[in-house]
């Protein structure tokens, strides 16, 4: 029952932290290579995949007649969400063919850290709620 109440929230938060951490590494790599000739800036995109995994699937006209049958629309579970690596070259490509815009990468890094901290905070509060539910509901 506890799993039913909290598991999807915890799963989403856990996945978000994991993906944001991976994105941080990718952005840090861009910043580290801001002056490497020929380096192409990259980013990790996962928002759309995460949204697709968290929204319930649209009702399908097909029915399953047995619970053991394969699902009609296979939906990726939250745990299986993976980020996709995309090249994000900036418009101002220097003579050394480096496509990293340091301002843009720093902005992304800051936003990413902010989102990570927000998710971590929500996760803390969710756990606090869970604890309160378990320890104080009988009083």
């Amino acid at each position: 029952m506890i799993r039913d109440c909290f598991s999807s929230t915890l799963d989403v938060l856990h996945k978000t932290l994991e993906l944001r951490q991976q994105r941080h590494t990718v952005l840090a790599s861009n910043i580290a290579n801001a002056e490497t000739p020929g380096f192409i800036a990259k980013d990790l995109r996962f928002e759309a995949a995460l949204r697709a995994a968290t929204t319930p699937p649209a009702p399908s006209p097909l029915w399953r007649t047995h619970p053991e049958h394969l699902p009609v629309v296979p939906q990726t579970t939250i745990r299986d969400v993976q980020g996709t690596l995309v090249a994000t070259p900036s418009d101002d490509i220097g003579r050394d063919l480096n496509t990293v815009s340091i301002d843009r990468e720093m902005a992304k890094l800051t936003t990413n850290t902010f989102h990570y901290n927000a998710s971590a905070e929500i996760l803390s509060r969710t756990l606090e709620q869970l604890k309160r539910t378990v320890s104080e509901s009988g009083q």
């Binding site: 951490q21 910043i31 890094l109 971590a120």
Partner: protein
Amino acid sequence: MDMMSGLQVSFSALNAQRTRMNVVASNLANAQSTRTPEGGPYKRQEVIFAAQPQRSPFEALLNDRLRDGVNEVHVQDIVSDPNGVRLEYEPDHPDANAQGYVAYPNVNVMREMVDLISASRAYEANVTAINSAKDMALRALQIGRV
């Protein structure tokens, strides 16, 4: 792919930028050096950065998907600037040639200063990335503290 690999990437950049600063300092210090062990005036040095995919055998297998996205940076080589020397007319100088010209290194102080500032800004950007990673790690440690 853990927090440490992000830090590793940033640390590699700190190292590379510090090497670049050392090279710039060497260029500035030797802007007037007319003698070197190899003979002739000092030659301006330049660093070449190269991206290097993170290599750790176990993680490489696990995170094959992200391998192309995460690159450390390292100094591949330090090369001499092939541009010629700067000749100045100083007949009294001990290293002056028969025409009275002294061959000075091809170091442009202005250019070196620009390079120095650029290296120090890049260094700061990577320090910021490290601090972000540290913040994130600290935040993650606080999750369990209910």
